[in-house]
Symmetry: C2
Subunit: 548 residues, 2 copies
């Protein structure tokens, strides 16, 4: 076994932390992910840096906070020059390979400005946030003209699923009893079986493509990180047979919500509750239709991972591959009278994270859970370490998890951070919040979850006394809560004034910053004697050029 | 006169705001800058974004806070992809031309990584922070091997000033009575005449080079911003005859300092006072030697500007050229028992700023002073506006000063910000502050100046009752001061959590963010009726591809 293993980094999209049996779901059994947890470490306090796809992923792929990389919302290009995991791996001779979704938008304006051809090797990697795109598919093709079809669309047509939008008409629609298409864009159709056999679904297809990549990589020597990135269980919520019919109302865990929450006096929370998606998921019949489909999608994903892991076993890949399973954010599913994601309750901002490290150093932690405060940006430096990259503390803001995987000291974090830019949203429109001010930031120290809301009072939960986050203490007059708010603001200020953009201060640059006396640039020396007293050198020794 | 004038942006280095007669110096008469103020606006509250050359200038040239561009200290490369004034001007068909100093360090690592040839047109502009380098000279050549000589070194040799380091041996040294060289790196030599006639000094040379540029630009049609950037009155403090002998002890304004300041209990302030340069400039004999030279350098600069302005008059350039005079930071000169710059008292962080706009819209403001809170980052958007560039609020953090120049409403600012990264310093070493934590940030609202010091208590001055900033209220137990500190921390938190890095959110990107219903991506719609109620459109109208 090599000291530098490969990494299979599996990411589901919109997968709640608590919809896996290893995280305690009573009815949704996910034996393959559970088995991975049994030979790895299961993290119980893993948080994403934004509760929405694009910015969360840009943080995952750069190892940097949203504040730092600047891609604060879906579709906002990651700027040219923002260093990614792939860039760091390439320096060490390793590959970062994409199979699936990133939600990356290329910075076409930035490339044009710097003269980078988007079709060149460098242009492609800049456009794919540092990855080598073995397969790129963001998985949402609501109106996809044929020239912009994904490889999956082509695959469907090649297998006889003929349509102008095979993604939508087969993989993301059901059929009524007369054979008419019923779109899964409408929640009422979630309980139907998808109009596609499971083996041609998106989840199965992308699993196959990961195998294709690993098979091809076995021909080469370069170590790799393969990012296998599934679109599901993200909406449209629909799953092929037999998974559409595995779960029913009896398997739905009760909603986490209280009537008192609907009476919030917080203008932003009020606006969330008034947003259509939240009102929709507050209705029991929506939950009852959608959650069984969501559970089916997760069950299907787990089965596909079982298929993938068995294949890796057969190919001898398991023993030299670190496998991580995680998600880019969760899904409210009606909890707290909310739908989709976009805020910071646990089911939205906390994600499952299981990492199985085959190296013997990890033998002592197999099957354990870690309650360390972990951020999604920690994966990049962890993988970099595993593949032998040099550390880049001036760029990477995440922290290497290797000590936790290997049962060693050396990892610590006092709080996790997540950010959200809601300028695009119904909330911003209904509250008339300027684009620049439509921002919130969460800080969580393991007990207190504090959400700073620009222009509004903060939101505060005490997870020690209120683990379900039902009581907002943001306006509490209890002095103890005031003290918490002050402490959290101070921690946020310390964090937000950090040098998030100081990325050119490489160790070489810092080492090159000679003292004034060393550089020959002398500030404040009166005479030769003072110079000699301070430096131990004669003043004339500074002038190697000699005198004319 | 064209609607789009040119801009001559003159920057002195280390020029205190109060060492010009138009800003009230009683003995240092600067009639040419005063005359510019008489036909323009003199800003009395202009602040730099860092009290040190490099980061202050990178803010000036990008229109962005230090936090945003990330070049937090001298020699820290400005990252590839950080947009500059020059880039914005080029888009509008205008030129940004450099004559003199920028303190820019090229991001060689970033260019290599993005495949940008440093010698290409794009590589040169990336290396010169967006400028077209007509002449680049940062003005400090303590040990300059011949192959790295500046054009000024070559100029000196061509004029007979032969040496292995002509910059140092002629322009920055004096002679003793025996004709031996005495280096101006040592303060005791400041009163000597520089070993060069005035007309071959750095200030005169760079003035000539600005004329050379403007002469050449008259052949072309493209409007321009010419950044004429002098190294002086920055140290080494030495000036050619007759300026070396114009001022003596009787012309030195008294130091701004109190004995009580030396008893500070603030660890960081204590460390500043213990730093060599501060101890040096706390000695009266140092002040008495250096200040007359510093005044002579400013007088020489003013005379050269007089020569330049007369030449521009003769060439007919004045009537179509906005002229701005400013500095990148000040100089303590022993005030507050400190030397050089690097902190936030007025003489370090506040700079002179005079802008004369020849357009008739500015006729109403000629000869007036503005006490608006202005930042150095405001110049870039002001010049962009003048030259017809589109506004870029997603990138540019400064605010267009045109309303102030034209006597109109539309400019407002509640506070100015300045930042400092002291990781390199004696203070960081003596206090053992980690590189990441060696940072301070100043916020000033026109009355209260508050300095947040990571790891230490804040520093606070009330300029209404203590305009000389002699009493640090950072530890005051007066509840009124506590309220100010809380308000300032809140303002800093709002500022520091802004989207400083969200630079790809162009108006086009934001406009392209369709609502879910417009994009065909539907979240939370139960059925066709709900969709129609919400959007006014039939659900089927979303499927232009038709049904199979």
């Amino acid at each position: 076994m090599s000291d530098n293993p490969n990494v299979l980094w599996i990411m589901a999209d919109q997968l709640r932390f608590d919809y896996l049996s290893c995280y305690g779901h009573p009815h949704l059994h996910t034996p393959h992910i559970d088995a991975l947890a049994a030979r790895g470490v299961r993290f119980t306090n893993a948080y994403v840096q934004s509760p929405v796809c694009g910015p969360s992923r840009m943080s995952a792929y750069t190892g940097r906070y949203v504040r730092s990389h600047g891609s604060t919302w879906n579709g906002m290009p990651l700027r040219v020059g923002e260093p990614t995991l792939g860039d760091h791996l390439r320096e060490a001779g390793a590959r970062a390979v994409l199979v699936g979704k990133t939600h990356m938008t290329a910075d076409a304006e930035g490339m044009a400005w710097l003269g980078i051809d988007p079709g060149s090797d460098i242009g492609v990697r800049v456009s794919e946030c540092g990855f080598e795109p073995f397969e790129r598919d963001d998985g949402l093709h609501p109106d996809s003209p044929r020239q912009r079809w994904s490889a999956y669309d082509d695959y469907l047509v090649a297998h006889g699923y003929t349509s102008d939008n095979p993604w939508e008409d087969f993989a993301n629609s059901g059929l009524d009893t007369d054979g008419n298409l019923l779109s899964a864009w409408l929640l009422k159709n979630s309980r139907l079986a998808a109009n596609i056999p499971e083996e041609h679904s998106e989840t199965a297809y992308m699993t196959n493509r990961a195998m294709d990549f690993m098979q091809s990589a076995m021909q080469g020597d370069a170590p790799w990180v393969c990012h296998l990135s599934y679109i599901k269980p993200h909406w449209p919520y629909i799953v092929p047979a037999p998974y559409h019919d595995m779960y029913d109302q009896s398997h739905i865990i009760p909603p986490v919500r209280s009537d008192a929450e609907r009476d919030t006096d917080h203008p932003l929370m009020r606006a969330y509750l008034d947003a259509r998606v939240c009102k929709s998921f507050s209705r029991d019949h929506v939950r009852e239709h959608v959650i069984p489909a969501y559970m089916g999608l997760i069950k299907q994903l787990d089965d596909n991972l079982g298929r993938l892991f068995a294949w890796m076993d057969a190919k001898g890949l398991t023993e030299n591959t670190i496998i991580a399973v995680t998600s880019d954010h969760g899904d409210y599913m009606g909890d707290h009278w909310m739908g989709d994601k976009d805020f910071y309750h646990q089911m939205a901002v906390k994600v499952p994270l299981v990492i199985a490290d085959p190296r013997p150093q990890a033998d002592g932690t197999r099957g354990t859970a870690s309650d360390a405060l972990v951020e999604m940006i920690d994966l990049a430096p962890t993988f970099m370490h595993a593949l032998g990259c040099r550390a880049k503390p001036h760029v990477i803001e995440g922290r290497d998890l290797t000590p936790l995987l290997h049962g060693q000291d050396g990892f610590s974090r006092n709080y996790v951070i997540s950010e959200h830019d809601y300028h695009w949203s119904e909330m911003a429109r209904s509250l008339n919040v300027p684009q620049e001010d439509a921002r919130t930031v969460m800080i969580f120290d393991g007990r207190w979850k504090y959400v700073r809301c620009e222009g509004f009072r903060p939101v505060l939960f005490d997870l020690a006394t209120d683990p379900s986050e039902l009581t907002d203490l943001g306006a509490s007059t209890d002095p103890a809560h005031d003290a918490v708010r002050i402490r959290m603001d101070a921690a946020l200020l310390s964090w937000s004034t950090r040098h998030h953009s100081r990325i050119t201060a490489t160790p070489a640059v810092l080492a090159g910053q000679k003292t004034a006396a060393e550089s020959g640039i002398l500030i404040g020396f009166w005479d030769e004697g003072e110079y000699k007293d301070a430096t131990g050198k004669a003043f004339d020794s500074l002038q190697p050029h000699g005198r004319p």
